[in-house]
Subunit: 313 residues, 2 copies
């Protein structure tokens, strides 16, 4: 019998959530669609996979058997996909590098330039992505490596090379009351609504709402955004404020948004990430070496107070 890996992912989601509705939400499809797919899978396999009840969906014997053996299938396909993409990149001499919207900056420039010098016959392709996407692109081998802000979900599955660390500041609408002050401490922001990343991004989202510095103080979420564009718009719109790396003040300067120095919050680190699952290709290895030569050895604390204020723009 044939299956689509999509169907397997669907099943896995339902098995893990124990609940059709939640699983459907996680998969970004409607609940009826998922109902139909799961029933079809059951029909095709000739086995009841779930015990339906008001409480949700519980695995049956055959269901548990499938849940156990599904991992290897998806893993095998993941490896196959990465192998193809790596072979393709090698034969066309392209190194594809993803970057999380806000993680690219002067370092990226410098690294790619140095790599070009080392491998003149190769091309570097930079691919921007939304907050959540780079991990997917990394996992599927669509990009060989990615510039990421730490932490990010499923981080343990990747090798990390830390490149730079910079303080975080706060971004807000130009007409925000707090904008009148030159420097703030994080405690000032505890009750402000924040512009957040989607819940699916887990630790990444938490980091950028300052969860680790709130001491349990709940966060008000003013809006959820996927891309830098929406993010900037939401801030300018006054939907809420947001933490941002200091360099954002330069890279995302807008008249209706101001950036203010912030104390009482940990800095942000940019790292180059690449999958542990497969051996790096020679070209990627070169890129990593190049990157490690350009990495900061120590945090640039000295520049701290100068980078973030609006006067820098």
């Amino acid at each position: 019998m044939d299956v689509d890996t999509r169907l397997l992912r669907y099943f896995q989601a339902v098995a893990e959530e124990g609940n059709l509705t939640k699983a459907a939400a996680r998969l970004y499809i409607s609940q009826p669609a998922l109902t139909k797919q799961i029933r079809r899978l059951e029909y095709q396999l000739g086995a009841g996979l779930f015990e339906r009840s008001k409480a949700g969906m519980a695995l049956t014997g055959p269901g548990a058997a499938l849940a156990e053996s599904i991992g290897p299938v998806l893993d095998a396909w993941g490896r196959a996909e990465r192998a193809v993409r790596a072979a393709e990149a090698a034969s066309s001499k392209v190194l594809r590098v993803g970057f999380l919207a806000s993680a690219a900056n002067e370092k990226t420039q410098a690294i790619t330039a140095a790599f070009r010098e080392r491998r003149p016959d190769w091309r570097v392709e930079l691919r921007q992505a939304s907050w959540g996407a780079p991990i997917a692109a990394l996992a599927s081998g669509e990009v060989a490596a990615a510039f990421m802000r730490l932490p990010f979900p499923d981080q343990d599955a990747f090798h990390l090379l830390e490149l730079l660390t910079e303080p975080r500041c706060v971004a807000m609408a130009a007409n925000h009351p707090l904008a009148r002050r030159d420097a703030l401490v994080f405690a000032d922001l505890l009750d402000e609504p924040f512009i957040a990343a989607p819940a699916a991004t887990g630790a990444f989202r938490d980091h950028w709402i300052g969860a680790e510095s709130r001491g349990g103080h709940p966060v008000k979420v003013g809006a959820v955004t996927e891309h830098p564009d929406d993010w900037l718009t939401a801030i300018a719109n006054g939907d809420g404020i947001a933490l941002a790396p200091a360099s954002a003040a330069r890279y995302y300067a807008r008249p209706d948004i101001v950036y203010r120095d912030l104390d009482g919050i940990a800095p942000s680190t940019v790292a180059l990430a690449w999958p542990k699952a497969t051996q790096p290709t020679p070209a990627l290895a070169d890129f990593i070496t190049t990157a490690s030569e350009m990495a900061d050895r120590r945090l640039p604390h000295a520049r701290r107070s100068a980078v973030c204020g609006s006067e820098v723009i």
Copy 2:
């Protein structure tokens, strides 16, 4: 990215055949459909998988990478499918046993009866299949075991328990000229057209056109059939003659078909087959034990001349 295992099988077929048209034929789909699918796969993976030429399709670098890593994916899914089917069978206490059309007979009866006695709470489900299908059903775990005639394709992937061996005779239309003779030798049939199994059944097909006793003499194929019904119809219709196990004279007796003893051809063996890939379940193990207790120890050569003639019916 998601794929259907069907697409992977398609790719595999093309890679092995090196030729779209042949691969399409082997997959029982039209050539344009296959063209479309392969192109789609290439598009989705963002890589050229084949080098097209007049001579056919040759694998590129990425194509070779995919070809290598596809096996594990299909294997993993095969294991998953078998695991589910086995769990389902266990929880509903059903032992599903396939049988190649002509391989069922008194032995089958006796074995299932004895098994029922050993496991009264279990049910045995017998599933008849066309010449080629039982292997597929076995491989996918749709049936836990199958009664087969040896040889059959991919036989090495299965454990075999030989149950009985019986001479082969010849079946032909009642009005066939050779039907007037009581006993024949295979050499008499060399120029007769034969009713054959599909080419895909490989060694099985060869065995039943007597390839091993022809000494290179080419075979005329009068018709190709999938099921016993078509087979009988084709014989009665005079499209050709066919080799048949002696017991066919009893199990497939019809007024318009006669069976004649045949010399100069090897006998046929019925065996119980089950996959090597997975550990037999306890119930299957019991079934195998039961079967081995009922297996013939020696060929029943003594009965040879009595079983085949039409007078037995």
